[in-house]
Symmetry: C2
Subunit: 226 residues, 2 copies
DNA sequence: TTCATAGTTAGATGCTAACCGAACTATCAA
DNA sequence: TTGATAGTTCGGTTAGCATCTAACTATGAA
Protein backbone atom coordinates (compact mmCIF):
# COMPACT_ATOMS: atom_id res chain seq x y z
CA UNK A 1 0.00 0.00 0.00
CA UNK A 2 2.82 2.37 0.85
CA UNK A 3 4.72 1.50 -2.30
CA UNK A 4 1.67 2.37 -4.35
CA UNK A 5 1.40 5.79 -2.77
CA UNK A 6 4.96 6.70 -3.67
CA UNK A 7 4.46 5.36 -7.14
CA UNK A 8 1.30 7.37 -7.67
CA UNK A 9 2.85 10.55 -6.35
CA UNK A 10 5.67 10.56 -8.86
CA UNK A 11 3.64 9.18 -11.73
CA UNK A 12 0.86 11.71 -11.29
CA UNK A 13 3.41 14.48 -11.65
CA UNK A 14 4.29 13.08 -15.05
CA UNK A 15 0.71 12.17 -15.81
CA UNK A 16 -0.56 15.62 -16.70
CA UNK A 17 -0.27 16.54 -20.39
CA UNK A 18 1.12 20.01 -19.77
CA UNK A 19 3.75 18.74 -17.34
CA UNK A 20 4.58 15.80 -19.55
CA UNK A 21 5.22 18.12 -22.46
CA UNK A 22 7.53 20.19 -20.31
CA UNK A 23 9.42 17.12 -19.19
CA UNK A 24 9.67 15.84 -22.74
CA UNK A 25 11.08 19.17 -23.83
CA UNK A 26 13.62 19.06 -21.02
CA UNK A 27 14.74 15.59 -22.16
CA UNK A 28 16.57 17.58 -24.82
CA UNK A 29 19.05 18.39 -22.07
CA UNK A 30 18.92 22.15 -22.27
CA UNK A 31 17.61 24.19 -19.36
CA UNK A 32 14.58 26.22 -20.41
CA UNK A 33 12.87 29.25 -18.96
CA UNK A 34 9.38 29.22 -17.56
CA UNK A 35 8.07 31.11 -20.59
CA UNK A 36 9.61 28.70 -23.04
CA UNK A 37 8.14 25.80 -21.15
CA UNK A 38 4.73 27.46 -21.08
CA UNK A 39 4.88 27.74 -24.83
CA UNK A 40 6.04 24.17 -25.14
CA UNK A 41 3.16 22.95 -23.02
CA UNK A 42 0.60 25.17 -24.66
CA UNK A 43 -0.56 26.89 -21.49
CA UNK A 44 -0.38 30.41 -20.11
CA UNK A 45 2.43 31.55 -17.90
CA UNK A 46 0.46 31.37 -14.65
CA UNK A 47 -0.54 27.79 -15.36
CA UNK A 48 2.99 26.87 -16.30
CA UNK A 49 4.30 28.47 -13.16
CA UNK A 50 2.02 26.33 -11.04
CA UNK A 51 3.11 23.19 -12.85
CA UNK A 52 6.76 24.05 -12.54
CA UNK A 53 6.52 24.59 -8.84
CA UNK A 54 4.87 21.21 -8.49
CA UNK A 55 7.60 19.54 -10.52
CA UNK A 56 10.41 21.18 -8.58
CA UNK A 57 8.62 20.56 -5.31
CA UNK A 58 8.27 16.93 -6.28
CA UNK A 59 11.98 16.74 -7.01
CA UNK A 60 11.76 16.06 -10.72
CA UNK A 61 13.18 19.42 -11.74
CA UNK A 62 15.77 21.78 -10.42
CA UNK A 63 15.68 25.49 -10.96
CA UNK A 64 18.36 28.16 -11.27
CA UNK A 65 17.66 31.88 -11.23
CA UNK A 66 19.57 33.97 -13.67
CA UNK A 67 18.65 37.58 -13.67
CA UNK A 68 14.97 37.80 -14.23
CA UNK A 69 14.88 34.38 -15.83
CA UNK A 70 14.34 31.08 -14.16
CA UNK A 71 15.90 28.13 -15.86
CA UNK A 72 14.43 24.72 -15.29
CA UNK A 73 16.15 21.40 -15.99
CA UNK A 74 15.65 17.75 -15.13
CA UNK A 75 16.83 17.07 -11.61
CA UNK A 76 19.22 14.24 -12.46
CA UNK A 77 19.89 11.22 -14.63
CA UNK A 78 17.65 9.01 -12.66
CA UNK A 79 14.70 11.17 -13.56
CA UNK A 80 15.79 11.19 -17.21
CA UNK A 81 16.09 7.41 -17.13
CA UNK A 82 12.64 7.07 -15.64
CA UNK A 83 11.15 9.23 -18.37
CA UNK A 84 12.91 7.18 -21.02
CA UNK A 85 11.52 3.99 -19.57
CA UNK A 86 7.99 5.39 -19.58
CA UNK A 87 8.46 6.51 -23.17
CA UNK A 88 9.66 3.01 -23.96
CA UNK A 89 6.43 1.52 -22.68
CA UNK A 90 4.43 4.14 -24.53
CA UNK A 91 6.32 3.38 -27.75
CA UNK A 92 5.69 -0.36 -27.67
CA UNK A 93 2.11 0.03 -26.48
CA UNK A 94 0.95 2.73 -28.80
CA UNK A 95 0.35 0.57 -31.87
CA UNK A 96 -1.14 3.56 -33.56
CA UNK A 97 1.91 3.74 -35.80
CA UNK A 98 0.49 2.87 -39.17
CA UNK A 99 3.91 3.34 -40.58
CA UNK A 100 6.99 4.40 -38.65
CA UNK A 101 7.56 7.69 -40.42
CA UNK A 102 10.90 9.32 -41.17
CA UNK A 103 11.09 11.34 -37.95
CA UNK A 104 10.54 8.21 -35.94
CA UNK A 105 13.36 6.47 -37.76
CA UNK A 106 15.67 9.40 -37.19
CA UNK A 107 14.86 9.25 -33.48
CA UNK A 108 15.68 5.57 -33.41
CA UNK A 109 18.97 6.08 -35.13
CA UNK A 110 20.34 8.90 -33.03
CA UNK A 111 18.85 11.21 -30.47
CA UNK A 112 19.88 13.08 -27.39
CA UNK A 113 19.03 11.51 -24.06
CA UNK A 114 19.37 14.26 -21.48
CA UNK A 115 22.93 15.10 -22.46
CA UNK A 116 24.39 12.11 -24.23
CA UNK A 117 23.95 10.13 -27.42
CA UNK A 118 21.23 7.48 -27.53
CA UNK A 119 19.63 5.34 -30.21
CA UNK A 120 21.31 2.82 -32.49
CA UNK A 121 24.41 4.94 -32.88
CA UNK A 122 24.72 5.31 -29.11
CA UNK A 123 24.39 1.59 -28.58
CA UNK A 124 26.86 0.82 -31.36
CA UNK A 125 29.37 3.18 -29.78
CA UNK A 126 28.94 1.62 -26.38
CA UNK A 127 29.39 -1.89 -27.75
CA UNK A 128 32.46 -0.91 -29.75
CA UNK A 129 34.14 0.68 -26.74
CA UNK A 130 33.41 -2.37 -24.64
CA UNK A 131 34.64 -4.77 -27.34
CA UNK A 132 37.89 -2.85 -27.72
CA UNK A 133 38.53 -2.86 -24.02
CA UNK A 134 38.25 0.89 -23.60
CA UNK A 135 35.52 0.33 -21.08
CA UNK A 136 35.36 -2.45 -18.53
CA UNK A 137 31.77 -3.57 -18.31
CA UNK A 138 30.59 -5.67 -15.42
CA UNK A 139 26.86 -5.83 -15.06
CA UNK A 140 25.85 -2.24 -15.19
CA UNK A 141 29.04 -1.16 -13.50
CA UNK A 142 31.26 0.46 -16.04
CA UNK A 143 34.79 1.72 -15.62
CA UNK A 144 37.36 3.36 -17.82
CA UNK A 145 40.31 1.10 -18.54
CA UNK A 146 43.85 2.38 -18.87
CA UNK A 147 43.76 2.15 -22.64
CA UNK A 148 40.38 3.84 -22.51
CA UNK A 149 41.90 6.80 -20.69
CA UNK A 150 44.52 7.19 -23.37
CA UNK A 151 42.02 6.87 -26.16
CA UNK A 152 39.58 9.45 -24.85
CA UNK A 153 42.29 11.95 -24.03
CA UNK A 154 43.68 11.56 -27.53
CA UNK A 155 40.19 12.25 -28.73
CA UNK A 156 40.30 15.60 -26.98
CA UNK A 157 38.41 15.00 -23.77
CA UNK A 158 39.52 16.42 -20.44
CA UNK A 159 39.24 13.43 -18.15
CA UNK A 160 40.87 15.22 -15.25
CA UNK A 161 38.06 17.76 -15.19
CA UNK A 162 35.50 14.96 -15.07
CA UNK A 163 37.12 13.29 -12.13
CA UNK A 164 36.75 16.50 -10.18
CA UNK A 165 32.98 16.41 -10.43
CA UNK A 166 30.65 14.45 -8.24
CA UNK A 167 28.92 12.93 -11.19
CA UNK A 168 30.09 9.45 -12.23
CA UNK A 169 32.19 9.34 -15.36
CA UNK A 170 30.60 6.24 -16.79
CA UNK A 171 27.05 5.11 -16.47
CA UNK A 172 24.87 2.79 -18.47
CA UNK A 173 21.54 4.07 -19.68
CA UNK A 174 18.89 1.77 -21.10
CA UNK A 175 17.66 2.66 -24.54
CA UNK A 176 13.94 2.59 -25.19
CA UNK A 177 14.18 2.03 -28.92
CA UNK A 178 16.92 -0.56 -29.00
CA UNK A 179 16.51 -1.90 -25.46
CA UNK A 180 20.23 -2.05 -24.97
CA UNK A 181 22.63 0.00 -22.93
CA UNK A 182 24.42 3.06 -24.10
CA UNK A 183 26.94 5.31 -22.46
CA UNK A 184 25.78 8.04 -20.09
CA UNK A 185 27.65 9.85 -17.32
CA UNK A 186 30.03 12.73 -17.81
CA UNK A 187 32.02 10.74 -20.37
CA UNK A 188 28.91 10.22 -22.45
CA UNK A 189 28.09 13.90 -22.23
CA UNK A 190 31.63 14.98 -23.10
CA UNK A 191 31.72 12.71 -26.12
CA UNK A 192 28.54 14.20 -27.49
CA UNK A 193 29.88 17.69 -26.93
CA UNK A 194 32.99 16.74 -28.82
CA UNK A 195 31.01 15.33 -31.73
CA UNK A 196 29.18 18.61 -31.97
CA UNK A 197 32.41 20.58 -31.79
CA UNK A 198 33.93 18.44 -34.55
CA UNK A 199 30.81 19.00 -36.61
CA UNK A 200 30.18 15.27 -36.82
CA UNK A 201 26.62 15.74 -35.69
CA UNK A 202 24.07 18.49 -35.61
CA UNK A 203 21.10 18.81 -33.31
CA UNK A 204 17.81 19.29 -35.07
CA UNK A 205 16.00 22.40 -33.93
CA UNK A 206 13.30 21.84 -31.33
CA UNK A 207 13.61 18.09 -31.20
CA UNK A 208 15.74 15.40 -29.69
CA UNK A 209 16.89 14.16 -33.07
CA UNK A 210 20.61 14.16 -33.79
CA UNK A 211 21.69 14.08 -37.41
CA UNK A 212 25.10 12.87 -38.49
CA UNK A 213 26.75 14.91 -41.19
CA UNK A 214 28.09 12.71 -44.03
CA UNK A 215 31.75 13.23 -43.07
CA UNK A 216 30.74 12.88 -39.43
CA UNK A 217 29.20 9.52 -40.09
CA UNK A 218 32.39 8.32 -41.75
CA UNK A 219 34.64 9.59 -38.98
CA UNK A 220 32.36 8.12 -36.36
CA UNK A 221 32.47 4.71 -38.02
CA UNK A 222 36.25 4.94 -38.24
CA UNK A 223 36.54 5.84 -34.59
CA UNK A 224 34.56 2.77 -33.61
CA UNK A 225 36.58 0.51 -35.85
CA UNK A 226 40.24 1.14 -35.15
CA UNK B 1 4.49 17.87 -28.00
CA UNK B 2 3.60 14.41 -29.26
CA UNK B 3 6.13 12.76 -26.99
CA UNK B 4 4.57 14.48 -24.02
CA UNK B 5 1.13 13.17 -24.84
CA UNK B 6 2.30 9.57 -24.89
CA UNK B 7 4.22 10.13 -21.70
CA UNK B 8 1.21 11.61 -19.94
CA UNK B 9 -1.09 8.87 -21.08
CA UNK B 10 0.97 6.09 -19.57
CA UNK B 11 2.02 8.03 -16.50
CA UNK B 12 -1.51 9.08 -15.66
CA UNK B 13 -2.51 5.44 -15.62
CA UNK B 14 0.06 4.87 -12.92
CA UNK B 15 -0.64 8.19 -11.28
CA UNK B 16 -3.84 7.29 -9.52
CA UNK B 17 -3.39 5.92 -5.98
CA UNK B 18 -5.79 3.04 -6.41
CA UNK B 19 -4.24 1.94 -9.67
CA UNK B 20 -0.72 2.42 -8.33
CA UNK B 21 -1.51 0.17 -5.42
CA UNK B 22 -2.79 -2.48 -7.77
CA UNK B 23 0.33 -2.25 -9.90
CA UNK B 24 2.54 -2.38 -6.83
CA UNK B 25 0.75 -5.50 -5.69
CA UNK B 26 1.22 -7.08 -9.11
CA UNK B 27 4.96 -6.38 -8.92
CA UNK B 28 4.91 -9.40 -6.66
CA UNK B 29 4.64 -11.41 -9.86
CA UNK B 30 1.50 -13.34 -9.03
CA UNK B 31 -1.67 -12.81 -11.04
CA UNK B 32 -4.46 -11.55 -8.82
CA UNK B 33 -8.21 -11.49 -9.18
CA UNK B 34 -10.24 -8.32 -9.46
CA UNK B 35 -11.53 -8.75 -5.91
CA UNK B 36 -8.08 -9.18 -4.46
CA UNK B 37 -6.91 -6.09 -6.27
CA UNK B 38 -9.92 -4.13 -5.05
CA UNK B 39 -8.98 -5.07 -1.50
CA UNK B 40 -5.37 -4.19 -2.15
CA UNK B 41 -6.33 -0.78 -3.48
CA UNK B 42 -8.88 -0.11 -0.79
CA UNK B 43 -11.80 0.49 -3.14
CA UNK B 44 -15.05 -1.29 -3.93
CA UNK B 45 -15.32 -3.85 -6.68
CA UNK B 46 -17.02 -1.60 -9.22
CA UNK B 47 -14.35 1.03 -8.79
CA UNK B 48 -11.63 -1.56 -9.10
CA UNK B 49 -13.28 -2.95 -12.21
CA UNK B 50 -13.21 0.45 -13.86
CA UNK B 51 -9.54 0.88 -12.98
CA UNK B 52 -8.64 -2.55 -14.24
CA UNK B 53 -10.30 -2.00 -17.56
CA UNK B 54 -8.34 1.21 -17.94
CA UNK B 55 -5.09 -0.52 -17.12
CA UNK B 56 -5.69 -3.39 -19.51
CA UNK B 57 -6.99 -1.02 -22.15
CA UNK B 58 -3.84 1.01 -21.74
CA UNK B 59 -1.72 -2.09 -22.18
CA UNK B 60 -0.18 -2.18 -18.74
CA UNK B 61 -2.00 -5.31 -17.64
CA UNK B 62 -3.13 -8.48 -19.28
CA UNK B 63 -6.11 -10.46 -18.16
CA UNK B 64 -6.99 -14.14 -18.22
CA UNK B 65 -10.44 -15.52 -17.45
CA UNK B 66 -10.52 -18.63 -15.37
CA UNK B 67 -13.96 -19.83 -14.49
CA UNK B 68 -15.71 -16.95 -12.84
CA UNK B 69 -12.45 -15.32 -11.87
CA UNK B 70 -10.45 -12.85 -13.84
CA UNK B 71 -6.79 -12.88 -13.19
CA UNK B 72 -4.79 -9.75 -13.83
CA UNK B 73 -1.01 -9.55 -14.22
CA UNK B 74 1.54 -7.06 -15.46
CA UNK B 75 1.63 -7.09 -19.25
CA UNK B 76 5.36 -7.72 -19.59
CA UNK B 77 8.83 -7.06 -18.26
CA UNK B 78 9.04 -3.67 -19.79
CA UNK B 79 6.12 -2.53 -17.71
CA UNK B 80 7.69 -4.06 -14.61
CA UNK B 81 10.94 -2.29 -15.38
CA UNK B 82 9.17 1.00 -15.81
CA UNK B 83 7.47 0.63 -12.46
CA UNK B 84 10.78 -0.20 -10.82
CA UNK B 85 12.35 2.89 -12.29
CA UNK B 86 9.53 5.09 -11.02
CA UNK B 87 9.89 3.50 -7.60
CA UNK B 88 13.58 4.23 -7.79
CA UNK B 89 12.94 7.92 -8.28
CA UNK B 90 10.37 7.88 -5.52
CA UNK B 91 12.82 6.18 -3.18
CA UNK B 92 15.63 8.67 -3.67
CA UNK B 93 13.30 11.63 -3.71
CA UNK B 94 11.17 10.80 -0.75
CA UNK B 95 13.53 11.80 2.05
CA UNK B 96 10.73 11.15 4.50
CA UNK B 97 12.61 8.15 5.82
CA UNK B 98 13.55 9.18 9.30
CA UNK B 99 15.14 5.80 9.72
CA UNK B 100 15.17 3.05 7.16
CA UNK B 101 13.14 0.55 9.14
CA UNK B 102 13.55 -3.23 9.16
CA UNK B 103 11.06 -3.90 6.36
CA UNK B 104 12.88 -1.47 4.15
CA UNK B 105 16.15 -3.22 4.80
CA UNK B 106 14.63 -6.58 4.04
CA UNK B 107 13.35 -5.19 0.73
CA UNK B 108 16.80 -3.94 -0.09
CA UNK B 109 18.41 -7.25 0.66
CA UNK B 110 16.08 -9.49 -1.31
CA UNK B 111 12.75 -9.02 -2.98
CA UNK B 112 10.84 -10.33 -5.91
CA UNK B 113 10.85 -8.21 -9.03
CA UNK B 114 7.99 -9.46 -11.18
CA UNK B 115 9.21 -13.04 -11.17
CA UNK B 116 12.89 -13.03 -10.34
CA UNK B 117 15.23 -12.20 -7.48
CA UNK B 118 16.19 -8.55 -6.97
CA UNK B 119 17.98 -6.58 -4.30
CA UNK B 120 21.50 -7.05 -2.98
CA UNK B 121 21.30 -10.80 -3.20
CA UNK B 122 20.10 -10.60 -6.78
CA UNK B 123 22.92 -8.29 -7.74
CA UNK B 124 25.47 -10.44 -5.94
CA UNK B 125 24.24 -13.48 -7.80
CA UNK B 126 24.43 -11.72 -11.14
CA UNK B 127 27.95 -10.51 -10.48
CA UNK B 128 29.11 -13.92 -9.33
CA UNK B 129 27.73 -15.63 -12.42
CA UNK B 130 29.40 -13.08 -14.65
CA UNK B 131 32.72 -13.31 -12.81
CA UNK B 132 32.74 -17.09 -13.09
CA UNK B 133 32.02 -16.99 -16.79
CA UNK B 134 28.64 -18.64 -16.56
CA UNK B 135 27.14 -15.62 -18.24
CA UNK B 136 28.69 -13.58 -21.01
CA UNK B 137 27.88 -9.97 -20.33
CA UNK B 138 28.29 -7.39 -23.04
CA UNK B 139 26.55 -4.15 -22.37
CA UNK B 140 23.10 -5.22 -21.39
CA UNK B 141 23.23 -8.13 -23.75
CA UNK B 142 23.64 -11.28 -21.76
CA UNK B 143 24.13 -14.80 -22.99
CA UNK B 144 24.58 -18.18 -21.41
CA UNK B 145 28.05 -19.58 -21.91
CA UNK B 146 28.73 -23.24 -22.42
CA UNK B 147 29.93 -23.70 -18.86
CA UNK B 148 26.86 -21.76 -17.77
CA UNK B 149 24.59 -24.25 -19.49
CA UNK B 150 26.23 -27.11 -17.67
CA UNK B 151 26.09 -25.33 -14.35
CA UNK B 152 22.43 -24.42 -14.51
CA UNK B 153 21.38 -27.86 -15.71
CA UNK B 154 23.29 -29.43 -12.87
CA UNK B 155 21.41 -27.08 -10.62
CA UNK B 156 18.18 -28.64 -11.82
CA UNK B 157 16.91 -26.16 -14.39
CA UNK B 158 15.34 -27.25 -17.66
CA UNK B 159 17.09 -25.05 -20.20
CA UNK B 160 15.56 -26.85 -23.16
CA UNK B 161 12.09 -25.81 -22.02
CA UNK B 162 13.23 -22.19 -21.79
CA UNK B 163 14.59 -22.16 -25.30
CA UNK B 164 11.19 -23.17 -26.56
CA UNK B 165 9.55 -20.04 -25.24
CA UNK B 166 9.50 -16.70 -26.95
CA UNK B 167 10.76 -14.95 -23.84
CA UNK B 168 14.52 -14.29 -23.72
CA UNK B 169 16.44 -16.55 -21.39
CA UNK B 170 18.70 -13.85 -20.01
CA UNK B 171 17.88 -10.24 -19.48
CA UNK B 172 19.37 -7.58 -17.27
CA UNK B 173 17.07 -5.66 -14.97
CA UNK B 174 18.13 -2.50 -13.21
CA UNK B 175 17.76 -2.51 -9.46
CA UNK B 176 16.24 0.52 -7.80
CA UNK B 177 17.83 -0.03 -4.44
CA UNK B 178 21.33 -0.97 -5.52
CA UNK B 179 21.28 0.67 -8.96
CA UNK B 180 23.04 -2.26 -10.51
CA UNK B 181 21.86 -5.00 -12.82
CA UNK B 182 20.48 -8.31 -11.78
CA UNK B 183 19.31 -11.30 -13.74
CA UNK B 184 15.82 -11.34 -15.24
CA UNK B 185 14.41 -13.37 -18.12
CA UNK B 186 13.25 -16.95 -17.94
CA UNK B 187 16.55 -18.01 -16.39
CA UNK B 188 16.11 -15.52 -13.59
CA UNK B 189 12.57 -16.70 -13.03
CA UNK B 190 13.56 -20.37 -13.07
CA UNK B 191 16.34 -19.78 -10.56
CA UNK B 192 13.97 -18.14 -8.13
CA UNK B 193 11.51 -21.00 -8.55
CA UNK B 194 14.29 -23.43 -7.81
CA UNK B 195 15.34 -21.54 -4.69
CA UNK B 196 11.78 -21.76 -3.43
CA UNK B 197 11.59 -25.47 -4.26
CA UNK B 198 14.86 -26.10 -2.42
CA UNK B 199 13.49 -24.15 0.54
CA UNK B 200 16.38 -21.72 0.36
CA UNK B 201 14.03 -18.80 0.40
CA UNK B 202 10.50 -18.06 1.47
CA UNK B 203 8.23 -15.36 0.17
CA UNK B 204 6.77 -13.17 2.85
CA UNK B 205 2.98 -13.10 2.77
CA UNK B 206 1.49 -10.09 1.01
CA UNK B 207 4.75 -8.36 0.25
CA UNK B 208 7.60 -8.47 -2.21
CA UNK B 209 10.08 -9.39 0.49
CA UNK B 210 12.01 -12.61 0.10
CA UNK B 211 13.58 -14.09 3.21
CA UNK B 212 16.47 -16.50 3.06
CA UNK B 213 16.26 -19.43 5.43
CA UNK B 214 19.51 -19.87 7.39
CA UNK B 215 20.53 -23.04 5.53
CA UNK B 216 19.37 -21.41 2.32
CA UNK B 217 21.63 -18.47 2.90
CA UNK B 218 24.61 -20.80 3.38
CA UNK B 219 23.82 -22.85 0.30
CA UNK B 220 23.30 -19.72 -1.75
CA UNK B 221 26.66 -18.31 -0.70
CA UNK B 222 28.30 -21.62 -1.53
CA UNK B 223 26.69 -21.68 -4.95
CA UNK B 224 28.08 -18.25 -5.73
CA UNK B 225 31.53 -19.16 -4.53
CA UNK B 226 32.55 -22.39 -6.18
C1' DT C 1 -33.62 -25.02 -11.23
C1' DT C 2 -32.09 -22.30 -7.64
C1' DC C 3 -28.76 -19.99 -4.98
C1' DA C 4 -24.22 -17.87 -4.31
C1' DT C 5 -20.16 -15.67 -5.85
C1' DA C 6 -17.40 -12.84 -9.31
C1' DG C 7 -17.54 -9.23 -12.00
C1' DT C 8 -19.55 -5.43 -15.13
C1' DT C 9 -22.59 -1.58 -16.28
C1' DA C 10 -25.31 2.48 -15.28
C1' DG C 11 -26.30 6.56 -12.93
C1' DA C 12 -25.50 10.06 -9.49
C1' DT C 13 -22.38 12.68 -6.61
C1' DG C 14 -18.62 15.20 -5.08
C1' DC C 15 -13.88 16.53 -5.01
C1' DT C 16 -9.75 17.70 -7.03
C1' DA C 17 -6.94 20.06 -10.02
C1' DA C 18 -6.09 22.42 -14.35
C1' DC C 19 -6.95 26.65 -16.28
C1' DC C 20 -7.32 31.68 -17.10
C1' DG C 21 -7.45 36.80 -16.16
C1' DA C 22 -6.02 40.30 -13.20
C1' DA C 23 -3.19 42.12 -9.95
C1' DC C 24 1.25 41.96 -7.78
C1' DT C 25 6.62 41.49 -7.36
C1' DA C 26 11.21 41.46 -9.22
C1' DT C 27 14.84 42.40 -12.37
C1' DC C 28 16.86 45.05 -16.05
C1' DA C 29 17.35 49.20 -19.05
C1' DA C 30 16.77 53.71 -20.08
C1' DT D 1 11.99 57.48 -12.26
C1' DT D 2 9.65 55.26 -15.71
C1' DG D 3 8.83 51.57 -18.61
C1' DA D 4 9.33 46.81 -20.09
C1' DT D 5 9.83 41.97 -19.45
C1' DA D 6 9.73 37.65 -16.45
C1' DG D 7 7.46 35.38 -13.21
C1' DT D 8 4.29 34.54 -9.09
C1' DT D 9 0.01 34.79 -6.45
C1' DC D 10 -4.94 35.09 -6.02
C1' DG D 11 -9.77 34.18 -6.96
C1' DG D 12 -13.11 31.99 -9.45
C1' DT D 13 -14.70 28.72 -13.01
C1' DT D 14 -14.97 24.42 -15.08
C1' DA D 15 -14.36 19.79 -16.31
C1' DG D 16 -12.87 15.41 -15.59
C1' DC D 17 -12.64 11.52 -12.92
C1' DA D 18 -12.73 8.61 -8.88
C1' DT D 19 -16.08 6.95 -6.07
C1' DC D 20 -20.29 4.83 -4.44
C1' DT D 21 -24.96 2.28 -4.62
C1' DA D 22 -27.98 -0.42 -7.16
C1' DA D 23 -29.07 -3.24 -10.76
C1' DC D 24 -27.51 -6.51 -14.09
C1' DT D 25 -24.76 -10.64 -16.31
C1' DA D 26 -22.10 -14.77 -16.00
C1' DT D 27 -20.18 -18.77 -14.00
C1' DG D 28 -20.20 -22.57 -10.76
C1' DA D 29 -22.34 -25.50 -7.11
C1' DA D 30 -26.23 -27.84 -4.97
Amino acid sequence: MKAGTDLAQIASLVGDPARANMLAALMGGAALTASELALEAGVTLPTASAHLSKLTGGGLLRMARQGRHRYYALADHQVAGMLESIMGVAATLGPKKVLPGPRDNAMREARICYDHLAGEMGVAMFDAFAARGLLAVNGSEIALTESGCGFFEDFGLDLAAMRGKRRPICRACLDWSVRRSHLAGSLGAALLDRFVALNWVRREKDSRIIRFTPPGRRSFALMLRD
